[in-house]
C-alpha cells in the first residue's frame, strides 16, 4: 500500500560532493582482481603451482645465462664493464620500445574503449583523477611482463657486481620512472591519434600506431648499432673500439639514463644526474599528458563513441574461397570462413601483421649482414649459426603464434553459447582454428628459414635439418598456442591484443622456448657429429643421429598433440 503523505524535499538541495579519491576510482579494478584470485575454480591450485614452477625455471634460466655472461665480461680487462653496460643498454632499449608499443595499444583500450568509461565520464569525477587512474591502469596492464623480466636481469647484474641491497633499492628507483615514461608518452600519442582521425576509425588509428611504433623500434635498433660491437676487427685500433664502447649510444634516450644510473652504481660511482633526468622527465611527461588530457580527452572520447557502421560486400574472392574450401564439408568450411573473416575484419588482429612484416624484414636483413666471412670464421661457425638461427626463427614463430593463435579460444568467449548449443563437435572448432593458424605460420617459417639459409649458404645437410626442424616446431608451437589458449582463456577481455600478455600467454611463451631449446639441444649432438665428420673426414655415428633426431621429432609431435587434447577436454566441459 502507498501511504498518502506529502513529499518533503530537502530544501538545502544536494550537498557539495567531495571528489572521489583516486583510490576509490581504482577500487573496482582491485576488487575484480581479488575476486578473480579468490575464485574456487577446479584445478586452479594445480595451474598456479605449474605457473610458479615454470616461472621460477624461466627466471633461473634468464638469471643463469646473464650471470655467467657478466662473469665472463668481468674477466675481460678494461672493456669488461663497458660491454656489460652496452648489453644492459641493449636490453633496456628493447624494453623501452616494447613498452611504448604496448602502452599505445593498451591506452586505446583503457582510455577510450573500456566498459567502465561511460560510468566514469558521466560521474562527477575530476578530469585529473580519471587521467591518473587510467594512466595507472595502462602502466600496470602494459608493463607487468617487462617488470617480471627485469627481476632476474637486475638480480644478475646486482649479484655479479656485488651491488648489495642498496642496489635493489636503486634498481626499483630507476625502473619506476622507466615504466611510467613510455606509458605517459604512449597515452598522449593515442589521445592525439584518436582526436586527429575521423570518428571510430580504429582500423586506421591502430595501423598507424603499429607502423609508427614498428618504425620506432627499427630506428632505436639502428641507433644502438649493435653489429659494430660484434666486429672489433672492423675498427682501426683497440683504442677506437674502446672509444665506441665508451660513447653513449644515444644520450637522449631514457634507456641510456637508466643504464648509466645502474652501471655507475655497480662500478662505484653514482650518476645521480641520470636518475634525476629519469624522474624529472617522467614527471614532465605525466604533467604534459595530463594537460593534453584536459584539453583533448572529452572530444576524443566522444568521437570514439560514434557508430562503426561499415558495409562489406561479398566479392569474387569469397566465391573462390568458398569453392576451394568446398571439400571440407559445410561445417568445417563455414568455421574456416568465419575464422578468416573475423581475423581480417578485426583491426586489433590484422594490424599486427604490419609489425610482424617489419620484424621479419629486420631479422632477414640482420642475417644478411652477419659477418660470416673473414678472419677467424671457421667452417663450424658458418654451419652452427644457421643451426642457432632455428632458435631465433622458432622464437619469432612463438611470438606470432602468441599474437594470432593463442587468443583464438578466448575470442569465442561471448559466442560460446552458439557453438555449445549447436550440433558441432568441439574437435571441429579446434581443427579449424589449428589449420587457419598453422598454414600461414608454416609458410612464413619455411620462408624465413629458406631465405636465411640461402643467405648463409649452408650445406645441404644443414638445410634439410633446418627445414624439417622448423616444420615440426611450427606444428608444436601452433598446438601449444591453441592448447594454452584454451587452458588459460581470457573470455571477458575487451581487447584481443591484450590476450597474449596474460599469464597464460606468458606460460605459452615459456613452454615454447623450452620446447625450441630442447629440440635444438637434442639435435645438437648429431649435427656436431656430422659437421666433425665433414670437417675432419671422420665417421659420424648413425645411432647418435637416429636417437637425436627421433627424440626431437617425438618431442615435437607430443608438444603438438598433448596441448590440443587438453584443450579439447577443457572446452567440452566449459560452461558459459
Amino acid at each position: 500500500m502507498i501511504r498518502s503523505r506529502e513529499p518533503q524535499p530537502k530544501e538545502a538541495g544536494f550537498e557539495a560532493l567531495p571528489d572521489a579519491p583516486l583510490l576509490h576510482i581504482l577500487t573496482p579494478k582491485w576488487l575484480t582482481a581479488r575476486a578473480r584470485a579468490m575464485t574456487g575454480e577446479r584445478g586452479r591450485g594445480a595451474r598456479l603451482a605449474l605457473l610458479a614452477v615454470v616461472g621460477v625455471l624461466f627466471w633461473s634460466f634468464v638469471f643463469t645465462v646473464l650471470y655467467r655472461l657478466l662473469l665472463y665480461f668481468k674477466g675481460v680487462q678494461e672493456i669488461g664493464p663497458l660491454l656489460a653496460g652496452k648489453l644492459l643498454g641493449l636490453i633496456l632499449v628493447s624494453f623501452f620500445s616494447i613498452l611504448l608499443l604496448s602502452n599505445v595499444i593498451t591506452a586505446l583500450s583503457s582510455f577510450f574503449l573500456a566498459k567502465d568509461l561511460d560510468l566514469l565520464v558521466s560521474a562527477p569525477v575530476d578530469w585529473l583523477r580519471v587521467y591518473l587512474a587510467k594512466l595507472l591502469e595502462t602502466v600496470l596492464a602494459s608493463s607487468w611482463m617487462v617488470a617480471l623480466m627485469a627481476v632476474p636481469m637486475f638480480a644478475a647484474y646486482g649479484i655479479a657486481y656485488h651491488g648489495g641491497w642498496s642496489f635493489a633499492v636503486l634498481a626499483i628507483a630507476v625502473f619506476i620512472p622507466f615504466l611510467v615514461l613510455p606509458s605517459a608518452i604512449g597515452s598522449a600519442l593515442t589521445l592525439l591519434l584518436v582526436n586527429i582521425f575521423p570518428a571510430r576509425r580504429t582500423r586506421d588509428i591502430l595501423s598507424v600506431i603499429a607502423v609508427v611504433t614498428a618504425a620506432g623500434i627499427v630506428l632505436l635498433f639502428r641507433l644502438v648499432r649493435p653489429e659494430r660491437l660484434a666486429r672489433p676487427e672492423g675498427f682501426r685500433s683497440l683504442v677506437e673500439f674502446v672509444s665506441v664502447l665508451r660513447t653513449p649510444t644515444s644520450p637522449l634516450l631514457p634507456s641510456e639514463w637508466a643504464q648509466r644510473s645502474i652501471m655507475q652504481a655497480l662500478t662505484g660511482t653514482h650518476d645521480w644526474l641520470a636518475l634525476y633526468l629519469l624522474w624529472t622527465t617522467a614527471a614532465a611527461a605525466v604533467t604534459f599528458g595530463a594537460l593534453l588530457h584536459r584539453r583533448l580527452y572529452l572530444s576524443g572520447f566522444s568521437k570514439a563513441q560514434e557508430s562503426a557502421q561499415r558495409s562489406v560486400s561479398s566479392g569474387r574472392l569469397t566465391d573462390i574461397g568458398q569453392r576451394l574450401l568446398a571439400p571440407l564439408g559445410v561445417l568445417r568450411r563455414e568455421l574456416v570462413t568465419k575464422e578468416l573473416r573475423v581475423f581480417f575484419r578485426d583491426t586489433t588482429q590484422w594490424s599486427q601483421l604490419i609489425l610482424l612484416a617489419v620484424l621479419v624484414v629486420v631479422y632477414v636483413f640482420n642475417i644478411k649482414f652477419l659477418p660470416l666471412r673473414g678472419e677467424g670464421i671457421t667452417f663450424f661457425l658458418v654451419n652452427v649459426i644457421p643451426f642457432l638461427n632455428l632458435v631465433l626463427a622458432g622464437f619469432v614463430l612463438a611470438s606470432i603464434a602468441a599474437r594470432f593463435i593463442f587468443p583464438g579460444v578466448s575470442l569465442e568467449g561471448r559466442t560460446l553459447w552458439l557453438l555449445r548449443s549447436s550440433p558441432m563437435q568441439v574437435r571441429d572448432l579446434l581443427w579449424a582454428k589449428f589449420w587457419v593458424g598453422t598454414t600461414p605460420l608454416l609458410v612464413l617459417a619455411l620462408g624465413i628459414v629458406g631465405v636465411t639459409d640461402y643467405l648463409l649458404q649452408v650445406s645441404a645437410f644443414m638445410f634439410l635439418v633446418s627445414v624439417l626442424s622448423i616444420t615440426l616446431l611450427t606444428f608444436a608451437v601452433a598446438g601449444m598456442a591453441l592448447g594454452f589458449g584454451a587452458l588459460f582463456p581470457q573470455y571477458e577481455t575487451e581487447n584481443a591484443a591484450q590476450i597474449p600478455t596474460s599469464f597464460g600467454g606468458l606460460l605459452f611463451m615459456m613452454a615454447s622456448i623450452t620446447v625450441i631449446g630442447a629440440v635444438v639441444i637434442l639435435e645438437a649432438k648429431p649435427v656436431y657429429g656430422y659437421l666433425s665428420a665433414a670437417a675432419f673426414g671422420t665417421h659420424a655415428d648413425p645411432t647418435e643421429m637416429i636417437l637425436g633426431f627421433t627424440a626431437a621429432t617425438m618431442l615435437c609431435i607430443a608438444a603438438t598433440i598433448l596441448p590440443i587434447r587438453a584443450a579439447l577436454r577443457r572446452l567440452e566441459v566449459v560452461e558459459r
Partner: protein
C-alpha cells in the same frame, strides 16, 4: 519433444535448479515464468546443452542430450537473453554460419535467411557488420538464426527484451505459426500478458522448483484467490505486490 527428469544444477552449495520434471509435447508453445534468479535461464541453458546438469537428464525429440549431444542439438534452436554474436560478420554471413553449424547450406538457406531478415526489417542491414547493429537488431538477428535451420524445438530466453512493438507482434505471430506447424517452443519471459495470450501451457518456477504447471484454466482453477496470471504469479512466488514506497523513498 522436451523431457526433463530430475533436472538439477548446483553451484557449490547453492542449488539453482532443483529436481525439475517436465514434459513439453510436440506442437506446444510452453511458457516458463519466474522471478529473477528463480532458475529459468539455468534450466534453458541446460536444455540447450550449454550447462551440464549436476543431476537428472534432458531429452530432446526422444534423444538423451548427455548420451548423444550432437543428435539432440541437431533438433534445437536456442535464443539467449544476451545478444552476443560475432561483431565482424555481416547479418547474412552470420545466418549462413549458423546454418553451417547445423550442416545446412545452399539456396534453401540463402532463401530462408533473406526471408527472415525481411520479416524483421533487417533487409537493408544484411550486408552491414553486426557491430553496427543496435541491441534490438542484434536480438532480431539471433531470433532469425534460431529459425534459419528449421529446428524441431526452439528454446528461447526472454525474447521480448530490446524489441520494438512491431517486432514483438511479428515474433508472437511467428511463434504461433511455428508451433501450429508441429514444432515446439519453450520460452521464458517476464511479460505475463505475453505468456497468458501466447502459451498453451505455463510453468511457474520459484527457487529452482516448479511451483505450478498447466494451462491458464488449470492454473486459475488451482489458485485459491485471484484470477489473472499476475496474481497467481505473485502469490506462488511469494512476492509482495507493493511495498510501502514512501518508506523506501524516505530511507
Amino acid at each position: 519433444m522436451i523431457e526433463l527428469s530430475g533436472l538439477t544444477k548446483k553451484y557449490g552449495n547453492f542449488t539453482a535448479v532443483d529436481r525439475i520434471d517436465l514434459k513439453v509435447p510436440r506442437g506446444e508453445l510452453f511458457g516458463f515464468l519466474g522471478p529473477n534468479g528463480a532458475g529459468k535461464t539455468t534450466t534453458l541453458r541446460m536444455i540447450a546443452g550449454i550447462l551440464k546438469p549436476t543431476a537428472g537428464s534432458v531429452r530432446i525429440a526422444g534423444i538423451d542430450l548427455a548420451a548423444d549431444p550432437i543428435a539432440a542439438k541437431a533438433q534445437l534452436g536456442f535464443i539467449p537473453d544476451r545478444p552476443f554474436i560475432y561483431e565482424k560478420l555481416t547479418g547474412t554471413e552470420f545466418l549462413r554460419f549458423v546454418a553451417g553449424l547445423f550442416g545446412q547450406a545452399g539456396p534453401d538457406v540463402e532463401h530462408r535467411a533473406r526471408e527472415l531478415m525481411a520479416l524483421f526489417d533487417l533487409e537493408e542491414w544484411r550486408d552491414e557488420l553486426v557491430e553496427s547493429y543496435s541491441h534490438g537488431m542484434r536480438q532480431k538477428l539471433i531470433i532469425s538464426s534460431a529459425f534459419v535451420h528449421r529446428p524441431a524445438v526452439i528454446v528461447v530466453d526472454e525474447p521480448h527484451v530490446g524489441l520494438d512493438p512491431k517486432s514483438i507482434k511479428i515474433l508472437r505471430d511467428l511463434f504461433k505459426e511455428y508451433t501450429r506447424r508441429g514444432h515446439t517452443i519453450m520460452m521464458s519471459t517476464h511479460t505475463l500478458e505475453a505468456a497468458e495470450s501466447l502459451c498453451d501451457r505455463i510453468a511457474i518456477i520459484h527457487a529452482g522448483r516448479i511451483a505450478a504447471c498447466g494451462t491458464m484454466d488449470e492454473l486459475q482453477a488451482g489458485a485459491a484467490e485471484g484470477r489473472g496470471l499476475e496474481e497467481i504469479f505473485l502469490r506462488l512466488t511469494g512476492q509482495r505486490a507493493a511495498r510501502d514506497l514512501m518508506d523506501v523513498l524516505d530511507a
